[in-house]
């Protein structure tokens, strides 16, 4: 076996150099500036000063105090709403995509005529751009002209009135359902691949022992899928907490406020930064979000460490 010489290994740096350079400019430099900015009272009027912008009136951690503790500040209330919505949104979307994904994967994990066609067609929503999903479902949720109310109220008579979907507490469902629709095929795809990786022999052995369908599912399928679950959970976490396009396009056609019950962290931060032009508070919110995210990923890593190292 030929040995890799150290000279050859040194080539790795050349291979990595363009990427490292790019990341230094696009990731490292901005993030340092972003953290710096989060301590300043940076807004559009003093954009010229940028990193020399003055500190907030209430001290070095003023932006953080405003966002976290200042109950008289609109930012604080907005952030609380956004955190609550994002929590439920990420949780329910991850749950929904997992359940539907597993269901779809189990349905497809059988031999039947038209299987590959069914798989292709089931994957279609995943290709629809997310801004289109937001626009399309925003139209579908309309109270009078939307197809959802037409189906539920006019055709099926399931409800006796036409609910308002894009206002009030219903908003949360109005953003969760389209997101599940957009992302569940991806979960299905990964779970299907996971199912196909499970060797037949395991099931045959279980059959010999007289295991029921449920027992096989509970004791074999689910545990053996856990590497896939770990990937899905991480993806779900990152995608959903950072979800932006669907929500921003659904309300006011890309310019509106999703309301107290539909505002997510990303839309809240974006609005603060680029519509209210309050960069300092926006950066503080971003830093807090990033810290929360890192904490979640650490938890995720501790739970799934075994699955990852087994690979």
């Amino acid at each position: 076996m030929a040995h890799f010489t150290s000279r050859r290994n040194r080539m790795a740096y050349w291979f990595l150099a363009p990427t490292v350079l790019g990341m230094a400019f696009v990731h490292v430099l901005p993030i340092v500036q972003g953290i710096w900015l989060s301590f300043l009272a940076a807004r559009k009027s003093n954009l010229q000063l940028y990193l020399d912008a003055p500190l907030p009136d209430n001290g070095l951690f003023g932006n953080y105090k405003d966002v976290l503790f200042n109950s008289s500040s609109a930012l604080h209330a907005g952030m609380a709403d956004a955190v609550r919505n994002t929590f439920w949104y990420a949780l329910l979307v991850t749950l929904g995509t997992s359940v539907f994904g597993l269901m779809g994967a189990l349905l497809l994990h059988r031999a039947f005529r038209g299987r590959s066609l069914a798989r292709t067609l089931l994957l279609f929503p995943w290709v629809v751009p997310t801004y289109v999903v937001g626009l399309l479902w925003g139209f579908m949720w309309q109270q009078d002209t939307g197809i959802v109310n037409i189906v539920l109220h006019d055709w099926l008579h399931l409800i006796s009135y036409r609910p308002v979907w894009l206002l009030g507490p219903n908003t949360l469902w109005a953003i969760i359902i389209p997101t599940i629709w957009r992302f569940w095929p991806y979960s299905m795809l990964l779970l299907l691949a996971g199912l196909q990786n499970i060797p037949h022999e395991v099931y045959e052995a279980a059959d010999l022992d007289g295991a029921t369908v449920w027992q096989k599912f509970r004791r074999i399928t689910m545990p053996l899928l856990s590497p896939v679950w770990s990937v899905l959970l991480l993806n779900g976490l990152i995608f959903n907490v950072y979800s932006f396009n669907i929500v921003i396009m659904m309300f006011g056609n890309g310019a509106g406020f999703p309301g107290r019950y539909g505002d997510l962290l990303m839309t809240a931060i974006f609005r603060n930064s680029f519509q209210m032009w309050d960069f300092g508070h926006g950066a503080a919110m971003s830093v807090l979000l990033m810290l929360g995210m890192i904490a979640l990923v650490v938890v995720w890593y501790r739970i799934f460490r075994n699955d990852l190292t087994n690979e």
């Binding site: 990595l16 626009l135 479902w137 037409i150």
Partner: protein, 609 residues
């Protein structure tokens, strides 16, 4: 027992297959709805007419001709009827399926104007013999007024709603937000010409009424009334509502004879005399029942009015001495919304909003007979796409998106292949740090970069004069650098599973490491690279937030274009859905073609971690 088990299994299998395809259909419904609505008429969408049923179109014209009663509807339906044995018998019927059509007759000529087909002359068999489409009319408009806007959103905003045929010319209204007005088509040479404020009309006009037997036309607009002489090509007189005329714009304006005009309001009507350039109210007809007058027919001393819920008749007592409120009023018992009305012989024929026709006796308004114009087809058309293309530089957006996404895909694949290979095969100091840091970048919210990058870019531009915001390369560089980390992570997996022996054999044969990478490793990893590249393309196609802040008019990508468009045309769901369909189509086609690679690549990348 065993057979029973097999049969049960087969039944279950069939049930599951059906369930799978039911799920497929359910899952596709939103996409199908998007595509379906992109072909639909926006008014139908707004009215909630979602089905495939016939479009309802109101009656626009009723005329007495030598052959019978001629009626036309807004969707280009034409019918010839005869009153016989208490029925309106259809002699001939056709439906052209036009949009917002109106008709006019002169002698034996029949003319039509529609928002989608333009101005047409029809033969006695109701075939189109001559046509000036919207392109011709627009060209004529451009020739006449090189510097004036022809509002390009013409469909749905154009109410090609009134048409009057005179001996030498046809006059029609092309109503838009701004721009065109009355189009005059001289019959001998077929040249269209526009009459509007720019060509000397005192105010804008959106309704035309014929003054039969004279060369005159009444032009009605939101601000006033113009009496126009078609032969002299000149205005006879004009008055403004509320100035010379004491009220707001009436619902209906009809000419009684050369010098008298009838105005129908809500619940009452007036007759004005316009002799010697003055307009004088000569008559007020009885207070009706407060009903909205929508149509009127006049015959000598009597006027019939139609409106929501019925038909009523008033006698004008033409005695200027008496302040006569005593006009007889009688109304029909039939519940019927008369939107068009004509006196035909001893009957008054009324047309309704759904294309129905009812003949009433002119005397006591008994309803005598009913008929119906043939209904339009399902209105499915390409018009929304054409309209979208005319309104927006959608081709530019599409081009920008394609350029940006392709470049991003190419650049990030090159960088990530190199780095991914290094990460998979080389041992070097800092490897773990690098691996963790590329994963860590995925934990950072994109918006965190956006503010500093935006400021950084503007600062750099101010300092060096190099523009970054609003250029292709700014966006391409940014996206590439952004997508490289996760691309590296996916590609690392593909490089790791390539047998080391392949590469070693190449090295033994005397290849340099670069050569080995290029001619051995890359081809072996190609399926994975292709799949990842497509994934990068799809991701870049989906990016809205950075593009929103970092592009300008010339570099808007599709998501930004759609967002701007959707913000400007809040209620044009038909156009929005057309835009959404166009944005989806390229990636859908790409996915469909490369499906196998994408599926295998993604699952391999994800399942193997």
């Amino acid at each position: 027992m065993s057979l029973n088990y097999l049969a049960r299994r087969r039944l279950l299998g069939r049930f599951l297959t059906i369930a799978t395809f039911a799920l497929v259909v359910l899952n596709l419904l939103p996409i199908l709805w998007m595509v379906y609505c992109s072909f639909k008429d926006n008014n139908e969408i707004l009215l909630g007419q979602v089905g495939l049923g016939h479009r309802k179109a109101q009656v626009q014209m009723i005329r007495e001709t030598s052959e019978g009663i001629l009626a036309g509807s807004r969707d280009g339906g034409l019918g010839l009827f005869q009153l016989r044995d208490g029925k309106l018998e259809t002699l001939r019927a056709v439906n052209h399926g036009w949009f917002s059509a109106s008709f006019a007759t002169w002698d034996r000529e029949l003319w039509a104007l529609s928002a989608d087909k333009g101005l047409m002359e029809l033969s006695p068999e109701w075939k189109v013999t001559r046509r000036w489409d919207m392109g011709d009319l627009k060209a004529a408009y451009r020739r006449q007024f090189p510097n004036h806007p022809w509002n390009t959103v013409w469909v749905n905003d154009v109410y090609a709603s009134y048409l009057v045929a005179k001996p030498d010319a046809v006059f029609g209204v092309l109503r838009m937000d701004r721009g065109p007005g009355v189009v005059e088509l001289a019959k001998p040479n077929g040249a269209p010409k526009f009459l509007n404020i720019a060509s000397g009309l005192p105010f804008s006009v959106d309704e035309l009424q014929d003054v039969p037997g004279t060369p005159r036309i009444l032009m009605v607009g939101p601000n006033g009334l113009i009496v126009w002489d078609a032969k002299a090509h000149a205005e006879v007189a004009h008055w403004e509502w509320g100035v010379a005329l004491p009220w707001d714009r009436p619902n209906v304006v009809r000419s009684l004879d050369a010098d008298e005009i009838l105005f129908g309001h809500s619940g009452f009507a007036d007759i004005f005399s316009i002799s010697q350039g003055k307009i004088v109210r000569t008559q007020e007809l009885a207070k009706g029942e407060g009903r909205e007058i929508q149509s009127a027919a006049v015959d000598g001393q009597t006027a019939w009015f139609g409106g929501v819920g019925g038909l009523w008749k008033m006698h004008a007592v033409r005695d200027s001495g008496s302040d006569s409120g005593e006009t007889a009023l009688s109304s029909s018992r039939a519940r019927f919304d008369a939107v068009a009305l004509a006196k035909v012989g001893d009957q008054v024929v009324a047309g309704g909003p759904d294309g129905e026709l009812v003949a009433f006796s002119a005397g006591n308004l008994d309803s005598l007979a009913a008929g119906r114009l043939s209904q339009g087809r399902i209105y499915v058309h390409w018009r929304n796409y054409i309209d979208l293309w005319r309104n927006l530089p959608f081709g530019t957006y599409l081009f920008n998106s394609l350029v940006v996404c392709t470049l991003v895909m190419a650049i990030s694949m090159v960088l990530a292949s190199l780095a991914g290979y290094a990460l998979a095969r080389f041992r070097f100091w800092g490897k773990d740090v690098f691996g963790i840091s590329i994963l860590a970048t995925q934990m950072i919210p994109g918006i965190m970069f956006l503010v500093p990058l935006y400021v950084l870019f503007t600062k750099v531009s101010q300092a060096t004069g190099i523009r970054i915001v609003g250029t292709y390369w700014g966006l391409v560089a940014l996206y590439s650098a952004f997508y490289v980390p996760f691309t590296i992570w996916i590609l690392r997996g593909f490089f790791a599973v390539i047998p080391k022996e392949l590469e070693e054999a190449a090295l033994v044969d005397g290849c340099g490491p670069l050569r080995a990478f290029w001619s051995v490793i890359l081809p072996a990893a190609m399926p994975g690279i292709v799949a990842t590249g497509i994934y990068v393309f799809l991701t870049a196609w989906d990016e809205l937030m950075f593009a929103w802040v970092l592009t300008n008019e010339s570099t808007y990508t599709i998501p930004v274009g759609i967002r701007l468009f959707a913000g400007n045309y809040q209620n044009r769901y038909d156009l929005m859905m057309a835009a959404a369909t166009i944005a989806t189509l390229p990636v859908m086609v790409l996915f469909f073609m490369m499906q196998k690679q994408i599926v295998s690549g993604l699952t391999a990348g994800a399942v193997k971690g």
